[in-house]
């Protein structure tokens, strides 16, 4: 591959500073839990039922965690009280969950006499349950990897096989999504992302069952995951090519989605350490604590995450603020490493979003895409298409996507989210996706080895721009390290958005762990 002449000592320095930035956050993460982490813990144990409340399905794990939270005892974790009741009733986690949700059993009622629910016994049982849960995750992972080996798998994290074709489906109805996903796979797509209903990130529970109505997308539920994965398994077998499934591990239920995604064999999860804070106004502490636990599950299941830096430039000026993207990628990488993830699982996201009328805009795009590739050589870089300057002229829009595809193949991006000609109008029609896959296949094939056959001129425009972005990134990270991440976010370090440490949604769900906090997952995941 043609390489830019980047100053490697500056790149190392950026990584050092990112580590320094993450340090104070790590102690916050270690000493706190959240309602979402405790719910994810129950879900991993098998509490995935739901009960009807006011005419709507509501997850059992929410009712149970809320019951404990009401007494102010959430700091000890959900496991001591829940496991004690399991020992007492001899029920499975699922059965007990249903019984508590239906009001047949009180989580905190006094234990019947003659049952051994000593702290030692609870600890032993909890360890056993968590080990079994871990084995379930490993089994799901192995089942997934078996299918990948059985058929041809085009994915290479370092991008040596050319960009993976990634498209979205967003009908709002999981069954229509399946039709669209199968059609996309047949047309050549390698990965399908089911876009979530626009409100879901702010729901503090995961809806239940198969869903057929959503706004701008389809609800992420365990059953919807299963239905789509089953269809893609079938399509992978038919096509002899593994088709990946993507969903959103973000918002107020981040750790729970990680658990369900892992159980239902998802391949990719959109997961970002800061996205929820900036773009969904979710509380900083909540997001930072939740992202860690979700990534522990993701690390075990070897799911590839996609970070959301592409969004930064939809609100901030895209030419002046490219360094914010790179700075955030360094921080996301560090938080992922801290959660035991390896670099080949970090799909660092980025997009250009620069004005198409800017002279030499493609030189700037190439510089940014190429430097991202070089700075994170082992990571599956995810390249997001133009959206900000898309308009109703679908023909011009199709051309913008073609140039985006050209930059993607030239610079060895790993995952290419294909742009849609109708981006500015509606969620994609079947034909929009087909056209865009045809566009990408043409360009990826026609320019397959161009990146290996050229050189970047030392000190040329592309080289210089990359050097400038790297310098700006280093300065930006130094500023953040000096202020501390939370204060820096408050002072608009990213995307021109300001958030406060105790502001935003979901802050109430953050609690300090007590000395007797019990959750073996923190040790075994």
């Amino acid at each position: 591959m043609a390489e830019l002449h980047l100053d490697t000592t500056k790149i190392l320095r950026c990584r050092d500073i990112a580590e320094k930035i993450s340090k104070p956050i790590e102690s916050l993460i270690e000493t706190h839990t959240t309602v979402a982490i405790e719910r994810a813990t129950l879900r991993l144990l098998g509490v995935n039922g739901a009960s009807v409340q006011n005419g709507q399905w509501f997850p059992d794990c929410n009712l149970i965690v809320d019951e404990l939270a009401k007494t102010g005892r959430l700091g000890e974790g959900i496991l001591p009280s829940f496991v004690a009741k399991m020992l007492e009733t001899k029920m499975t986690a699922y059965e007990l969950g249903q019984s508590i949700a239906k009001g047949k059993i009180q989580l905190l009622s006094p234990t019947k006499s003659g049952v051994n629910v000593s702290p030692v016994e609870i600890k032993r049982k909890a360890s056993e349950l968590c080990s079994n849960a871990k084995q379930n995750l490993i089994d799901a992972r192995e089942k997934r990897d078996l299918l990948r080996k059985k058929v041809q798998d085009p994915f290479d994290p370092a991008g040596r096989n050319g960009p993976l074709l990634y498209v979205i489906v967003a009908t709002g109805n999981i069954y229509d999504d399946v039709t669209q996903a199968r059609a996309a796979a047949q047309a050549g797509a390698d990965a399908i992302a089911v876009i979530r209903s626009t409100a879901q990130s702010l729901l503090d529970y995961i809806p239940h069952g198969a869903t057929t109505e959503g706004f701008g997308g389809t609800y992420a539920t365990q059953e919807n995951f299963r239905i789509m994965r089953e269809a893609l398994d079938d399509e992978s077998e038919k096509l002899g090519r593994y088709i990946r499934l993507t969903n959103y591990c973000s918002g107020l239920c981040m750790p729970e989605i990680a658990a369900l995604g892992a159980l239902e064999r998802l391949d990719f999860l959109l997961n970002d350490a800061m996205y929820g804070i900036l773009f969904r106004d979710i509380n900083m502490q909540r997001t930072l604590i939740d992202q860690h636990f979700s990534r522990r599950i993701i690390a075990l299941s070897k799911i590839v995450i996609h970070t959301g830096e592409d969004n930064y430039l939809t609100t901030a000026d895209a030419i002046e603020n490219g360094h914010q993207v790179l700075a955030s990628q360094f921080i996301n990488e560090r938080f992922a490493l801290n959660a035991t993830m390896t670099q080949d699982l970090m799909g660092l996201g980025h997009a250009q979003e620069m004005s198409p009328e800017h002279t030499n805009v493609f030189l700037l795009e190439i510089a940014r895409a190429q430097m991202t590739r070089q700075i994170f050589p082992k990571s599956p870089i995810k390249f997001m298409p133009p959206t900000r300057y898309k308009c109703g002229d679908i023909f011009y829009s199709h051309l913008m996507d073609a140039m985006f595809n050209f930059v993607g193949v030239l610079t060895g991006q790993t995952i290419q989210l294909l742009g849609m000609a109708t981006e500015a109008m509606h969620t994609p029609l079947l034909q929009d996706r087909w056209m865009s896959i045809k566009n990408a296949k043409y360009i990826f094939n026609g320019a397959k080895d161009l990146g290996k056959d050229i050189e970047y001129k030392r000190g040329g425009m592309i080289d210089q721009w990359a050097a400038k972005v790297l310098d700006d990134t280093l300065a930006h990270l130094e500023m953040i390290a000096k202020k501390g991440l939370m204060r820096a976010i408050e002072e608009r370090a990213f995307a021109e958005v300001s958030r406060t440490e105790q502001g935003g949604k979901g802050f109430k769900g953050v609690v300090k762990k007590t000395a007797d906090y019990l959750n073996p997952f923190f040790e075994i995941l």
Binding site: L202, G392, Q431
Partner: protein, 286 residues
């Protein structure tokens, strides 16, 4: 129109002058390369495999739309059980362009400087503008383009105006919350942007805001503006808004409208007061 004449022809007055046809506005129809040809192109998918039958079905659908000389440019297999078509045809339908009437936002096109100047000289205080993307809609690209400093297509956002105090509340603001803030901040105008239109959620949310504003007696105290890629002015009026702005709207279009509407309302109010005072004085004389 380009004339297909040359100067030597003009001199010879006895010879007919050759020109390209000019459009007939009384009988307007689409134009391809010959005036009046009625050419249009369309693309669509049929949920059947490509086949001679599928081709015939696609042509028949277009003929059913009133197209003549239907030419099927391509039939492609888009997936198992789906075929994609690109088709050309000629429309026979014509429209009397001279009789078309569209309800538009009535406001002058002005620059940021002109608008600031009008506010300074004719209003004498800053106008307060609150913007948000409401309901569950998380797509702030529209409201950001209008309000944020940066603006859109080289036209600076409302934050940049000296005469405006503009605040962007961002995504997923609930209607009541928006009205609470409008009251607290003493807003003169509210801008609401909606991008997601599935199940007509944008119309429901627009109407809900107006209903809530009416209930709280705020409706006539505020200039209410709707925006979004699928929003039109008549649609906004139907929902009870004062104006609607669609695709391609620039911040200065919105600012100019707000200023015009504010002055219009103020003048009307003053007139009322004035005539009220006159009546009073007349009464007093009596």
């Amino acid at each position: 129109m380009a004339k297909v004449t040359n100067k030597t022809d003009k001199k010879k007055a006895d010879k007919p002058v050759l020109t390209a046809k000019t459009p007939d506005l009384k009988r307007l129809n689409p134009y391809g390369d010959i005036m009046g040809d009625g050419t249009i192109q369309l693309a669509f998918t049929l949920p059947v495999e490509p086949s001679p039958e599928a081709r015939e079905a696609a042509i028949k659908i277009c003929e059913g739309l009133g197209l003549q000389q239907v030419k099927l440019a391509t039939m492609e297999k888009a997936a198992d059980g789906f075929s994609f078509f690109v088709i050309y045809g000629n429309v026979t339908k014509t429209i009397d362009f001279t009789k078309i009437h569209v309800v538009k936002v009535e406001s002058k096109k002005r620059s940021r400087y002109e608008i600031d100047e009008i506010i300074k000289t004719e209003i004498g205080r800053k106008l307060k503008v609150i913007g948000a993307c409401t309901g569950f809609d998380a797509h702030t690209v529209g409201i950001d383009a209008i309000i944020n400093m940066k603006g859109f297509a080289g036209d600076y956002g409302l934050e940049r105006y000296q005469g405006l105090d503009a605040k962007n509340l961002g995504a997923q603001v609930q209607n009541d919350e928006l009205l609470d803030i409008a009251v607290k901040e003493k807003a003169d105008a509210i801008l609401v942007s909606k991008v997601v239109t599935q199940h007509n959620i944008h119309l429901k949310d627009f109407k809900d805001l107006i209903a809530r504003a009416k209930k709280r007696g705020l409706r006539d105290k505020l200039i209410l503006v709707a925006g979004g890629p699928r929003v039109t002015h008549p649609m906004a009026l139907e929902c009870g808004f004062d104006a609607g702005f669609g695709v391609g709207t620039k911040p200065s279009d919105v600012a100019s409208y707000i200023v015009d509407e504010f002055i219009k309302r103020r003048d009307k109010e003053n007139k009322k007061k004035l005539s009220g005072e006159k009546k009073k004085t007349i009464k007093a004389k009596k």
